[in-house]
């Protein structure tokens, strides 16, 4: 792939703090290599801002290889930018053309208040995990890996759910700001596996209800799946709806009878 350079106009959301009034700032960038990642392009912008004595743009990232879920912003109205199955950090400038204007905005939802510029507080996702996104085991020496047999199909499906990196793009892209894709990925990852059965019904009920404390109601648009860097399937939402209705029946029985 041959290297080209781009001249770009960036419109970036700047906001000093959670309660400050935000605005778009326009920046011109020249000679951006198409081999750069989107975040490297933002680094170039920030270095220029620092050199000019201005405050750099706050944008989160950590692993820069699409596995941690720290990065994420709306790029031209799409969560994580125009490419499919790509986190912001995996997006490359070759997806853009010379002379483009790129609008960069934070992920928005009532439960994702802006901390600064492009950084938003995604703590409600942690609240959902705390409500049941774990299995309780007695610790001790590590068990043999093949002690609990798991059928291959089940393992694959559970892994598809486990692939969720918790970036929040699904909420940001959803017209209802619903947290269904994230929550169902986290629930099903455990509900599908034998190790997750003991707490299955308690987990489902409590994670779904915690989700509903913070997020909107799913209307099955499917925008989340398109935005998701891990392409979590919408099927997980159906599994979770089914498990939730079951959990309501099971959880009202006496303890231990579920």
């Amino acid at each position: 792939m041959s290297e080209e350079t781009l001249n770009l106009t960036l419109k970036v959301w700047r906001q000093e703090g959670p309660n400050a009034k935000g605005r778009f700032e326009t920046y011109q960038l020249s000679d951006i290599s198409t081999h750069m990642s989107f975040l490297e392009m933002m680094d170039v912008l920030n270095e220029q801002l620092i050199a000019k004595g201005e405050v750099p743009v706050e944008i989160e990232s950590d692993c820069r290889e699409g596995i941690c879920g720290t990065c994420g912003c709306m790029i031209n109205g799409r969560a994580h930018g125009p490419e499919k199955a790509t986190a912001t950090c995996q997006l490359h400038m070759r997806s853009f053309s010379d002379g483009d204007t790129i609008v960069v905005e934070p992920f928005l939802a009532s439960s994702f208040p802006i901390i600064k510029d492009l950084a938003v507080d995604r703590a409600p996702l942690d609240r959902i995990i705390e409500a049941g996104g774990y299995i309780s085991i007695s610790t001790g020496s590590a068990p043999d890996a093949n002690l609990i047999p798991v059928p291959k199909d089940t393992a694959d499906a559970a892994f598809d759910g486990a692939a969720c990196i918790g970036c929040g793009a699904c909420v940001a892209a959803c017209p209802n700001s619903a947290g269904q894709l994230f929550t169902s990925a986290k629930i099903q990852h455990l509900n599908l596996l034998p190790q997750g059965q003991a707490e299955r019904w308690a987990r489902t009920e409590s994670m779904v209800e915690t989700m509903e404390d913070y997020f909107g109601s799913c209307t099955n648009h499917g925008e989340c799946h398109e935005a998701c860097p891990k392409e979590i399937p919408l099927d997980f939402i159906a599994y979770t709806n089914r498990d939730y209705m079951k959990s309501k029946r099971k959880n009202r029985k006496l303890q231990g009878q579920a």
Binding site: V103, E105, S177, Y214, F215, C218, N220, H221, Y244, M245
Partner: protein, 275 residues
């Protein structure tokens, strides 16, 4: 030693209601409410399909339509008094309609709280012109097509069940009432527009139902969109055919070889009595 600072996260946008006893608590959660919306939608969908198929009697002629209407009143007559079964079905449909509308309204309010800038059919919170990646026209307009169908339902009842809109309306003569009502081009257009809205609503609703009920089976997953599209298309074609056929003169008194409507019935009875 590294230490994480406790920090107060964002507050919940929705206050958790006090749990009612099972099964009422199902309706207190959004996922449960969507389930109720799907089940009531399924009941209403069954009605719409049956209604459309039943109306095909219009193509047979006035006597057959009247006979069909009487058969509906006679349902279950061997066991319970006449029209009780019909009223039972009507009450079920009204109940389904009420919970369908209430769940839709309250869930839309919940989503607006979670995203104050969401408007009826679009996602205006982002400045950059947002083109949807997956949401289709039908899914984005559910909150428009729903109220349109609701208004249309009242219009339809006032027009053909209660006869409020025309002096020529005759109780017990559905064929003539349809011909008179839909013979008016304005009324025909109302029927056409409303049924397009209904078909759009069903196209997204029928697919959405599988998700909300958690009906997920790899064997049928690929067909869900087709099932929804097929149902919506069938209902659209069937229901649009009536106003169009009336306008085109295919369903018309003059096309009947015998006398039409209730007059025909009465004449018929008179002849029988005379014999």
């Amino acid at each position: 030693m590294a230490q994480t600072m406790p920090r107060p996260g964002p507050n919940p946008v929705r206050k958790r209601p006090k749990q009612l006893p099972f099964p009422l608590n199902v309706y207190q959660s959004a996922v449960g409410r969507k389930w109720v919306m799907a089940v009531s939608g399924l009941v209403l969908l069954g009605f719409v399909v049956t209604h459309m198929i039943g109306n095909l009697h219009l193509y047979e002629g006035p006597l057959e339509v009247r006979e069909y209407a009487e058969t509906l009143r006679d349902l279950g007559v061997h066991v319970i008094p006449r029209t009780w079964m019909l009223w039972g079905i009507r009450i079920l449909l009204i109940a389904a309609f009420v919970v369908h509308v209430h769940s839709a309204y309250s869930l839309a309010a919940m989503s607006r709280k979670a995203n104050p800038s969401s408007s009826l059919d679009s996602n205006k919170r982002y400045a950059s012109s947002q083109d949807y990646a997956a949401a289709n026209y039908a899914s984005r307009t559910m909150r428009w097509t729903g109220p349109i169908v609701l208004l249309y339902l009242f219009f339809h009842l006032a027009d053909l069940t209660w006869g409020w809109l025309s002096d020529d309306w005759t109780r017990g003569d559905p064929y003539n009432n349809v011909v008179i009502s839909m013979g008016n081009i304005g009324v025909a257009i109302i029927y056409i527009v409303a049924n397009v809205a209904l078909a759009l609503h069903i196209y997204h609703g029928a697919w959405s139902m599988f998700q909300s009920l958690g009906v997920n089976n790899p064997k049928i997953n690929n067909y869900r969109r087709h099932i929804a599209g097929g149902l919506a298309g069938l209902i659209l074609i069937g229901n649009l055919s009536f106003p169009i056929a009336v306008q085109a003169g295919l369903i018309d008194q003059d096309n009947c070889e015998a006398p039409c409507g209730i007059t025909a019935e009465l004449e018929h009875e008179g002849e029988e009595a005379a014999q």
